[in-house]
């Protein structure tokens, strides 16, 4: 597609269940980011993938959070044993960065709104 695609757009889950969020970046984009945005707040960095380099996981809030990326394509963010404080919009973004030293504008998806009841 033309933009970053995220699914599902909305997810309601019960506390303690696992959830998996998906991100399809723009074709050809080598850099992929996950951010979290709580209601009325700014963007909180979670994880960053750049090509075949080891991901920067420094923003993952706990070991319940993990993310994977298949090559330079789809990424999934998994939250295990969800808690109410995990409720937020999870945003994925991608950019074209053929090497780690290259920067280009970041393009965001529309996010997945996660509600943990």
């Amino acid at each position: 597609g033309a933009g970053v695609s995220q699914s599902p757009s909305n997810k309601v889950t019960e506390k303690g269940k696992d959830v998996e969020l998906r991100c399809d970046p723009i074709s050809g984009h080598t850099a992929l980011y996950w951010y979290r945005q709580r209601l009325g707040q700014g963007l909180e960095f979670l994880i960053y993938f750049q090509g075949n380099s080891a991901p920067d996981k420094s923003g993952l809030p706990s070991d319940r959070f993990s993310a994977e990326r298949t090559g330079e394509s789809v990424s999934t963010l998994t939250i295990q044993r969800t808690q109410q404080e995990d409720s937020a919009v999870y945003l994925c973004a991608s950019s074209w960065a053929p090497v780690s030293s290259y920067n280009s504008p970041l393009h965001f998806g529309n996010g997945t709104r996660l509600t943990v009841t």
Partner: protein, 109 residues
Amino acid sequence: GIQVEQSPPDLILQEGANSTLRCNFSDSVNNLQWFHQNPWGQLINLFYIPSGTKQNGRLSATTVATERYSLLYISSSQTTDSGVYFCAVEKAAGNKLTFGGGTRVLVKP
């Protein structure tokens, strides 16, 4: 890590007014971008501007990297300019993009 502060936190404008939003950062940066998040939550990249000045219609941005700040100018504001404006910086190449807390703008008709 690098600190990014935006001011003012909130801004109310009358349609047609001009305004300036500021982004200060605590260290030298390799990358700076401005984003607009509309009331429906969609984030749009406005400018990729690690240094210098750029203009896009009624919006323009200037980054003075040596003094660690960037400014976003909105001229002849319209109600569609409402939303939250974020700046984001990358300290070094291949590093994460850190966002400021945003400036919430409301343009009244």
